[in-house]
């Protein structure tokens, strides 16, 4: 074991950065702090910015449901009063002075600029999934060679059909990949014009068509909802949409801080 300087047992957990004014006459947070039974969620102010924080054990926060929920609830509550810049989950400073000096003061200009990009806007998240049977049925219907191969394989013993099976698998995969690009673009063509910013994340499963986050002006949120509903109706029976929002702009801002002793 190497000798490490002892870190203090208690530190300051940082949830997000926000505008200070909305918290001037603020009755206090109702959300409970992360990692502790007592101690309120509070703010540290510098000029016209605040960091939303709570006193917390100085630990590495594991991805436990209760921790993730505690973090999300506070950021969500803060976002009801001000535009917020989410700080990465699990960020614990040694003390309040570190948050003030190394986050609010040192990165003041950057925080200001970033706040402007999310002010008056909400994040809306959309995942589109194919329904498995429908997607395969379409691929078979659209591709004559896949149709032929499928018939060949169906009439062969599993040994004899080995290479045909592989070819069928590969062709199906290619056809699905091409279909994914088309379907994803069709969705983005409708939604992207309504968003100020769009972030397309990696698809996470073989049936996921699109995994995207949109930053949308609050005035256009209803239009956006309407478009998503239309897309859902149009895709009924073949595609499922998971639509979540409005949420704090997690996909567009994620402040990371490396604290210096």
């Amino acid at each position: 074991m190497s000798e490490m300087p002892e870190a203090p047992a208690v530190g300051t957990y940082v949830y997000c950065v926000a505008r200070a004014a909305p918290f001037d006459a603020f009755p206090g947070f109702v959300s409970t702090a992360i990692g502790t039974e007592d101690g309120p969620v509070r703010t540290i102010r510098y000029e016209d910015l605040v960091a939303v924080v709570s006193t917390s054990p100085n630990i590495r926060y594991t991805l436990r449901r209760e921790y993730l929920q505690a973090h999300e609830r506070v950021v969500e509550e803060a976002s009801r009063y001000s535009a917020v810049l989410p700080v990465a989950f699990g960020t614990v400073a040694m003390n309040d002075a570190q948050v003030l000096g190394q986050l609010l003061q040192r990165r003041f200009d950057e925080l200001h600029e970033t706040l402007q990009t999310v002010e008056g806007r909400v994040e809306l998240d959309l995942k589109a999934h194919w329904q498995r049977e429908a997607a395969f049925a379409e691929v078979v219907a659209e591709d004559e060679q896949i149709r032929m191969l499928r018939d060949v394989v169906a009439n062969q013993s599993s040994d004899a059909g080995y290479y045909d099976r592989i070819e069928l698998g590969e062709r199906t995969e290619q056809a699905l990949a091409a279909k994914r690009v088309r379907d994803a673009e069709a969705i983005l063509d409708v939604l992207e014009p309504l968003a100020v910013n769009t972030r397309v994340n990696k698809e996470l499963t073989d049936m996921m068509v699109l995994n995207a986050a949109f930053l949308v002006d609050k005035e256009r949120e209803q239009d956006f909802d309407e478009k998503v509903r239309e897309l859902g109706d149009a895709g009924a029976g073949r595609m499922l949409l998971q639509y979540v929002g409005p949420v704090p702009p997690y996909n567009f801002v994620n402040i990371r801080v490396r604290w210096e002793a």
Binding site: L63, R64, R65, K127, L204, N211, Q242
Partner: protein
């Protein structure tokens, strides 16, 4: 462990060098499979979809999500090179294997 099972069940007919290759391959594949964050993210996405569709109950969802989050956390800790610290600090961590 579908992948490992497939590799192990494959008939080994080549010379010993081939066998060594296969063993190394298994270790590499196993590590890639175990330490793949995307795989766990995919399982989490699928789980949330099934929950939204009402195919699994709230308690079942929470239980499975908890397990997947733990796995994801292990992967992150491993990637951050914190695995030892993680295993000694967090009392709720799953039982540690002997890694020495």
């Amino acid at each position: 462990m579908r992948l490992l099972a497939e590799l192990l069940l494959f008939p080994i007919t080549g010379p010993i060098r081939g066998l060594e290759f296969i063993v190394k391959q298994i270790q590499a594949e196993l590590e890639a499979e175990l330490m793949n964050e995307d795989r766990v993210q995919g399982q989490l996405a699928e789980l949330s979809l099934r929950h939204d569709l009402g195919e699994i109950s709230g308690p079942e969802y929470e239980e499975k999500e908890t397990a997947l989050l733990e796995e994801l956390d292990m992967i992150r800790a491993y990637q951050e090179g914190l695995i030892d610290e993680y295993l000694t600090l967090d009392v709720d961590a799953p039982p540690a294997e002997d890694r020495t």
